[in-house]
């Protein structure tokens, strides 16, 4: 799976989790700046990414995933 595909899938997940329309994502977008973000939806966001890409993040790493770029890099290293 290349980076563009990861971005596309991630955009769909953002729309689903934060209940909004699908919009393209930029790598420097901070997760907590997304519309509808709160600590609860953040948990759902991480869990949905794990399920969708069939990957598991390490507990220690979850706190470091602050931007879309961080997420894409972490996903890319696993799929």
């Amino acid at each position: 799976m290349d980076e563009a595909q990861i971005y596309a899938r991630l955009a769909e997940i953002v729309a689903e989790v934060f209940d909004q329309d699908v919009v393209p994502l930029t790598s420097d977008l901070r997760v907590e700046d997304m519309d509808g973000w709160d600590s609860l939806s953040h948990v759902r966001f991480i869990l949905t990414i794990e399920k969708s890409f069939k990957i598991k993040f390490l507990t220690s790493e979850i706190g470091t995933l602050e931007t879309v770029g961080d997420l894409v890099a972490a996903i890319k290293s696993r799929v």
């Binding site: 729309a15 209940d19 948990v43 759902r44 869990l47 399920k51």
Partner: protein, 651 residues
């Protein structure tokens, strides 16, 4: 994880255009409540449930009508984070026609909330309070092998739960929903944990048992989370990483399942559980199509893998009926043909008189189901339709959305499980307490009787309440007869294999005496368990060509009953001698002494161990067999025969 449960596979899959449909909800002249219920009736994941809940919450805030959903206020006391679960609960309740309002106190204030009269929960006077505790919230002290300390720990935990119950009752008068506790996966001693007093598993087992006793019959409700967790698997239920990260006491993937279980419990409290099960027939109640395959062709026998799957459906339907669920039939069939298996197939568990309504015709099912609802004076929302045909399911869902129609997997072996998993008939109390009491006494009396009786093998056998039934070979039994003849190895005297035409020949030849034997007992129907073929040897003798029996019924004097029956017919047919043959194989040592035990005399034995035995009919004494004997379908009844003989002699 098992997809049936995790993915709620009894519900139709979420539509591809879920988002669009969500956005298009409500509007002038439409019922938002009804549309939300329809959307929630798909199998939704956590994100989708959360989005449905958001629409619901917005509508409530804006004072929009949610009719026809019935409002229910549920307070939740939890020791761990349930914030993630709350929206899923609201959305799942919609599925059951309930608009759920959730009252949530701050984290970890369980005892305070229950015991303080003016706490948030008590002040809000909810309809019910869900006590959603995890084992980690209980005061459980390990005390290996120390019975006294262990009992004190269990008492302490129950006292804690009881104080919550009393607090809620006194301060808000609300009903409590208690959860049993899912034990952790990690064992300490290994298997020993289960039996070792004071181990965590042992303590949790005991707390669960006592809690269940405390709740059932108290007017409160029980949500058996321990059973749910065991059903999906404890290792999948508990996710230590999620606990550490978010204090979520079970896996996020199971939130939709858990929420559906909470919702069905709330629905049961509101009296919204379903009351009747409507069964389709072809490929649901039996395998095959009665109109095409005929009575001999449908699959419904014990010992036939496909048939047993459909027997399981029948068994579940019967058990539900015993519980008080009304049964009905809706089938596209010609009425008289559809009735035939119920009236004439010996292995059918369901009979005509189990059904309140029997509809076999060629109308569409929606029309028929509407008629059934009217005939039963039940609302459509009290009905469940079990149908293997996805087309019929879709039609009924479309035209009568109030009727519950579970999706079914391709494999019929999972039909019964899927129906049970859907939880349509969830109950929080057992209907009539008087009935319950009467049954309780009756059952205890019966059990005592049973115990008294079991003082000898014969007495035990009688307590099994066996019924043995004999028929000559016929078309209904043929498939199973051929199967037994070609499959039985151990309890098989001659191990002669016959093809279906050969069996048919034996069936139709008046010179050949045949028996198919069935046995039922208190545990259920064992189906066909023995087959016998006798051929005329010399003028007045029958040679037992084939005698085989299922090993499942060994040691029950079935062989004695079979011999008695052969003798009875032989006598009636003017036979004077039975000849038995034992042909040894490497599998049938079990029956080397079969004829000796039945008091045949050995007349011959060759160097390979094959032996020949005989029994003179006039010497044969019937055995007292501990079972009820039914004999039917024989060309000429024994008595008629002997009377005819007697008349002949007289004239």
């Amino acid at each position: 994880m098992n997809p049936l449960y995790v993915e709620l596979q009894w519900l139709p899959r979420a539509p591809k255009d879920f988002s669009d449909r969500l956005k298009a909800l409500g509007g002038e002249g439409r019922s938002l409540g009804r549309e939300l219920k329809a959307l929630a009736s798909y199998a939704l994941d956590l994100n989708q449930l959360t989005r449905v809940a958001k629409v619901l919450k917005k509508a409530r805030t804006e004072g929009e009508s949610l009719d026809p959903l019935s409002p229910f206020r549920l307070a939740i006391l939890g020791g761990s984070t349930i914030d993630l679960v709350v929206p899923a609960l609201t959305a799942s309740a919609t599925r059951y026609g309930i608009s759920l309002e959730i009252i949530q106190p701050s984290f970890d204030q369980v005892a305070q909330e229950a015991l303080t009269p003016d706490s948030k929960v008590n002040r809000s006077k909810p309809d019910a309070v869900l006590i959603a505790l995890d084992y980690r919230a209980l005061p459980l002290k390990l005390s290996f092998g120390d019975t006294e300390a262990s009992n004190a720990t269990v008492r302490g935990a129950i006292a804690f739960l009881r104080s919550i119950q009393t607090g809620i009752k006194t301060n808000s008068g609300s009903l409590c929903i208690f959860q049993t506790f899912a034990p952790p996966v990690e064992s300490l001693f290994g298997s020993l944990d289960r039996g070792l007093k004071g181990s965590l598993r042992n303590l949790i087992d005991e707390v669960n048992r006592e809690l269940a006793q405390l709740v059932v019959g108290s007017g409160d409700a029980l949500l058996d989370v321990a059973a749910l967790a065991e059903t999906v698997g404890l290792a999948d239920w508990h996710n230590p990483q999620l606990w550490n990260l978010a204090k979520l006491s079970f896996s996020d993937e199971l939130i939709p399942l858990y929420s559906d279980h909470v919702a069905r419990t709330v629905a049961a409290i509101r009296g919204k559980s379903r009351k009747a099960l409507i069964l389709d027939l072809d490929n649901t109640v039996w395998g095959g199509v009665i109109g095409d395959d005929g009575l001999e062709g449908i699959q419904i026998a014990q010992g036939d893998a496909r048939g047993e799957a459909h027997l399981a459906v029948q068994r579940l339907a019967l058990d539900l009926r015993q519980r008080g669920i009304v049964l009905a039939v809706s089938s596209k069939n010609t009425d008289e043909i559809a009735r035939v298996p119920f009236e004439r197939h010996p292995e059918m568990l369901l009979k005509m008189d189990h059904f309140a309504v029997f509809q076999a015709n060629w109308n569409d099912k929606a029309t028929n189901i509407q008629a059934i609802a009217e005939e039963l004076s039940l609302g459509l929302d009290a009905l469940v339709l079990l149908d293997d045909n996805p087309v019929e399911r879709g039609l009924v869902r479309q035209l009568l959305p109030e009727v519950a129609v579970p999706e079914l997997p391709e494999e019929p072996a999972f039909y019964a499980r899927t129906l049970a998993a859907a939880g349509y008939f969830e109950a929080v109390t057992f209907a009539s307490e008087d009935l319950q009491r009467a049954e309780f006494y009756q059952t205890n009396a019966k059990r005592a009787q049973l115990l008294n009786q079991v003082d000898g093998v014969d007495a035990y056998l009688s307590s099994l309440d066996m019924t043995i039934s004999f028929r000559p070979f016929d078309n209904i039994g043929k498939t199973r007869i051929v199967q037994l003849i070609n499959k039985s190895n151990q309890y098989n005297l001659t191990t002669r294999r016959y093809t279906e035409p050969e069996v048919a020949e034996a069936q139709n030849n008046p010179e050949v005496f045949t028996l198919q034997v069935r046995l039922s007992d208190v545990f259920g129907d064992n189906g066909m368990i023995s087959v016998v073929i006798c051929r005329r040897g010399a003028a007045d003798e029958w040679e037992i060509d084939t005698w085989l029996m299922s090993c499942r019924v060994l040691g029950r004097k079935v062989e004695n009953a079979v011999l008695d029956h052969i003798v009875e017919h032989a006598r009636a047919a003017g036979i004077r001698k039975l000849v038995g043959i034992y042909r040894p194989t490497d599998r049938n040592k079990l029956v080397a002494d079969h004829y000796a035990k039945l008091r045949f005399a050995k007349t011959d034995e060759d160097e390979l161990g094959a032996s020949r035995w005989e029994l003179w009919i006039e010497d044969a004494q019937p055995t007292a067999v501990p079972m009820k004997v039914i004999s039917e379908g024989f060309r000429s009844l024994t008595r008629d025969c002997s009377e005819a003989d007697a008349q002949q002699r007289a004239s």
